[in-house]
């Protein structure tokens, strides 16, 4: 059977060990090995953003990272956004604005928007659209997503 390597990383704040084949992407590791299926595969080549996670705080496509590459790093997935205190403001605003229809792109959008608001808490509409250009949504036409992010930013102040 294929050789596996041992990786230690912090996943959603929790130190974890896992084994993976070198050819397995971080997305595969999250979904198949760690059963964190909130990150979705839409294209598997970095063009849809459905698999977005934060890697040491930076937004990445987990389909374009090998599991082996996260040795010693911190990964935040959609499962790590809400807390025991409740939903993240972005999650709440996505619900209030009906910013999701089928919901498959939603985890990626929320992770990406979180990265945006951490870097730029008061983005303009244009800045939100630019930041989210790497996340495809086919249902909503983006209107309500953009409004949800802008509203969450207002809430954050």
């Amino acid at each position: 059977m294929p050789k596996k390597i041992h990786v230690q990383a912090v996943i959603n704040g929790q130190p974890m060990d896992f084994l993976c084949e070198p050819r397995q992407s971080l997305l595969e590791v999250l979904r198949d090995e760690l059963r964190l299926t909130g990150s979705k595969e839409g294209c598997n080549n970095g063009n849809c953003g459905a698999c977005n996670v934060l890697l040491d705080g930076r937004l990445v496509n987990s389909c374009l990272v090998f599991g082996a590459e996260v040795q010693g790093k911190a990964v935040t997935t959609i499962e790590g956004i809400a807390t025991a205190q409740g939903l993240h403001p972005l999650q709440q605003k996505f619900l209030e604005h009906a910013a999701l229809q089928c919901g498959i792109c939603t985890p990626g959008f929320i992770v990406a928007a979180k990265a945006l608001l951490e870097k730029n808490p008061k983005p303009s509409e244009e800045q939100v659209r630019h930041w989210l250009a790497g996340n495809l949504c086919r249902c909503t036409g983006y209107d309500k997503i953009i409004r949800a992010v802008l509203d969450a930013a207002r809430l954050g102040s």
Binding site: R35, C43, N45, F94, R129, A133, G141
Partner: protein
């Protein structure tokens, strides 16, 4: 039935969707998220050529690879013979359906499934595919509809002759079907015309582009029962198709619809489900197959490319007098393009006395097309609504006035025969005309702005502006277009049980593709006079809910909502009986209003829904309401859109500046989700209009089978999409519902073409209107 758009307590409000928290936290389980012990992973071997005979297939080397457990081919499906089955939403030729799942002797398009492997990991299954030796005998291919119609074109099917409503033609052809509609006398009609415009149009093949690739997990159990977990618009149609393809009774199959990541018509036909089941039968283990994005583009049903010729005439007063259209739609590898609805929609927005329409369904060496949001109508409207715009230009009539004057209304006889009931076409045009967007100045072309020209977002310098004189700058234009879609009714089931705490658990059969659980639950809540949140909706599998047709045709809120309403009426009747029992009166003496039961003979006797719910166990047990409906009264949907564009005259690139969609929505149950349907439909239409297309090379291979090169709109490519909900209640539905999901995709390509014309003075007659095509038109004009 009385239908009103006002006086509701729940309908028209915007509650949070019941499945929302799961979907924003990543907990909602979609098809690809299915995990179970011993799960094998399947992968599909696909044809590298667009047309050819399958000479041999040898999988022995693949089976030798450690970790590979089974290989299946068409021999592992039952041979269905040349039969046509009615499978819920439309008739399906089983021979074609089976060949599309696993090719039978011949491949008809690049990407067609030929064999499948199950292995302990997806990577291993992929490696195994490379070890399957297949010998093909290549045949000449044809990928263009007009080329395929010519004499001497490569024929895809030996047994295909043109069907012309049962009239035998005897001639082998790629033209699978001819349809025709006639009304009045077009020759005479055109003689009355002061202006006649005739144009030809081409539209490219486009894909639904849902973000979630197809997936299916199947377990063929030792007792012969099969369970399938999949992403589908219709669990019952999957069950019916799989039963036919595997040759086993319906009752042996349970289909569990997982959460679905978009469909838009593309997740109705089965692709992976029977293959996963066959692999599971061979291995005795559950097998999951997921497609990758290239598979989705190359091997699932896009919507047809088309050739359309339209001729329309109006008299000097601007009254439409005659219209003629010829439509040829690419069916893909197997017959069955949405030609009928396309031909029936092409002039449906107008009252035209003389019409003649011919349509042709044509097979080509491309994936078999399937439904996509108002199937067939968008291609058609691009052609007819562009010609209407040109008529208006010649007649010097405002295009919205023209639509108000000529628009179809109650009593208008359609070109295909039937007469329209109460509809809202004219209202959408009137509303668009009064909208601030329509009268707002288009704005000057952007001034030279010497803002910091660093790191400009689009990166092509179009909008930087320069002080240098003589430089051509982007130009603006505004366009309008209308569209029609029939919407569907079909069958839906629901059951609802009353809980002791006054809530109701609802099980309904429509997979929820965009918030429909909530709009269905709201109709139940309204009918019972309780809060939307007091209904807990769930989507049932094929063993837990009655037969329900697909989530498609904009039918779910209409028909499944109706089933929920009826289930509510059933609960009401039973609640009234219980109250009557408690109060010792006849049921006729109990009134049910606003969620409260009241004794007509003793005003002090009242019970709220919740209070009575607590007493159900003591008065005979739980109450379950149920309904199965196949409702008539489907209301067609009309939309009129206004769009402003800016075109870079040096590159041909079109930017959408402002968009307003006006639509007759009947009654909006949950306005946010109605708006969302409209916005999503518009943006799909914008993508179709501007950049999306299947690009084929000379080898018959799609060269842009990725999101990178297929170019769906991103958030940065769009403005906000303004929506105006015109509520012309559908008299055929208890709450006035019309389907809303599909019609918004219909007008955008024509609206954009008309706006581009105003900006540049060139008429676009081909989709997509990508920068290169716009530039070529512009250069040809200069």
């Amino acid at each position: 039935m009385t239908t009103s758009t006002t006086g509701y307590k729940v309908i028209g409000t915007r509650p949070l969707r019941h499945d929302g928290v799961d979907k924003v936290t990543g907990r909602a389980l979609y098809g690809a998220d299915v995990q179970m012990a011993g799960l094998l992973h399947g992968r599909i071997l696909r044809s590298p050529i667009p047309h050819g005979l399958l000479r041999s297939l040898d999988a022995s080397k693949a089976l030798e690879l450690p970790g590979v457990e089974a290989v299946v081919t068409c021999a592992d499906l039952t041979d269905p013979g040349d039969r046509i089955a009615e499978l819920g939403e439309g008739a399906v030729n089983l021979k074609h359906l089976s060949s599309n799942c696993l090719a039978r002797g011949k491949v008809h398009y690049k990407g067609q499934a030929v064999a499948a492997v199950a292995a302990v990991s997806a990577h291993l299954a992929e490696e195994a595919l490379k070890l399957i030796a297949v010998e093909y005998e290549g045949l000449p291919h044809v990928t263009d509809v007009r080329a395929a119609m010519q004499d001497g074109a490569p024929l895809l099917h030996d047994d295909l002759v043109t069907e012309s409503l049962g009239k035998p033609t005897g001639k082998r052809s790629n033209i699978a079907k001819h349809i025709q509609f006639k009304k009045g006398d077009v020759a005479q009609g055109f003689q009355q015309a002061a202006v006649v415009i005739e144009r030809e149009f081409h539209t490219a093949t486009v894909h639904q582009g849902y973000i979630e690739p197809h997936n299916a997990t199947a377990l063929w159990n030792a007792d012969g029962t099969v369970t399938i977990w999949c992403s589908t618009q219709g669990a019952f149609t999957v069950r019916a198709q799989v039963a036919e393809l595997l040759g086993i009774p319906l009752s042996r199959i349970k289909v569990v619809p997982m959460e679905i990541g978009g469909g838009f018509g593309g997740k109705i036909r089965v692709y992976l489900e029977p293959v996963a089941a066959a692999l599971s039968k061979k291995t005795g283990k559950p097998v999951k197959i997921t497609m990758n994005r290239a598979d989705v583009f190359e091997a699932t049903g896009p919507t047809p490319g088309s050739y359309i010729k339209v001729k329309m005439g109006a008299d000097k007063d601007g009254k439409l007098v005659a219209a003629r259209a010829t439509l040829a739609y690419e069916a893909g590898a197997f017959p069955g393009s949405p030609l009928g609805p396309g031909a029936m929609c092409i002039f449906a927005c107008y009252d035209i006395p003389n019409v003649h329409i011919d349509g042709y369904d044509v097979v080509v060496n491309k994936p078999a097309t399937s439904a996509y949001r108002a199937p067939g109508a968008t291609n058609a409207a691009f052609a007819s609504e562009t010609v209407v715009d040109e008529l208006c230009e010649h007649l010097k009539i405002d295009p919205l006035d023209f639509r108000i004057q000529n628009g179809a209304r109650e009593g208008t006889r359609r070109a295909d025969g039937p007469v329209f009931p109460r509809i809202g076409m004219v209202e959408t045009a009137q509303t668009a005309k009064q909208h601030a967007h329509y009268t707002a100045p288009l704005g000057p072309n952007p001034k030279a702005q010497i803002s910091n020209p660093k790191f400009e977002k689009a990166g092509d310098g179009a909008n930087l502006g320069f002080e240098i004189s003589g430089l051509r700058v982007p130009r603006r234009g505004r366009g309008v277009a209308s569209g029609f879609w029939f919407n569907c009714g079909l069958k839906s089931s629901a059951s609802a049980s009353v809980n002791a705490d006054g809530t109701v658990s609802l099980v309904e059969g429509s997979t929820d593709i965009g918030g429909s659980r909530t709009s269905i639950a709201m109709q139940l809540a309204e009918s019972l006079g309780i809060r939307a949140d007091d209904v807990r909706p769930a989507v049932g599998d094929t063993d837990t809910v009655g037969y329900t047709d697909v989530t498609g045709g904009s039918r779910v809120t209409f028909a499944t909502g109706w089933a929920a309403y009826e289930a509510g009426q059933d609960i009401k009747r039973q609640m009234i009986a219980r109250a009557a029992l408690l109060w010792g009166v006849q049921p006729e003496a109990v009134a049910y209003e606003d969620g409260t039961l009241r004794c007509l003979s003793d005003d002090k006797k009242r019970l709220t829904f919740k209070e009575l719910s607590e007493k159900l166990h003591a008065t005979g047990g739980t109450i379950v309401g149920r309904a199965s409906v196949d409702p008539p009264g489907v209301g067609g949907g009309f939309a009129t859109h206004v769009v402003d564009v800016e075109v870079d005259p040096e590159t041909g690139k079109v930017t959408v500046l402002r968009y307003t969609a006006v639509q007759d929505v009947g009654k909006a149950i949950h306005p946010s989700y109605v708006e969302g349907q409209m916005q999503g439909g518009v943006v799909q239409g914008i993508g179709w209009a501007l950049n999306e297309e299947y690009i084929y090379n000379e080898q018959g291979v799609m060269t842009n089978a990725s999101f990178l090169d297929y170019r769906m709109p991103t958030a940065l490519d769009l403005p906000m999409i303004d929506t105006v909900l015109v509520e012309v209640a559908n008299p055929g539905h208890p709450y006035g519902v019309r389907g809303v999901g599909e019609v918004p995709i219909v007008p955008p390509p024509a609206a954009l073409a008309n706006a581009i014309y105003q900006a540049l003075g060139v008429r676009m007659d081909e989709l997509p209107m990508s920068p290169g095509r716009v530039m070529a038109k512009l250069l040809a004009k200069q």
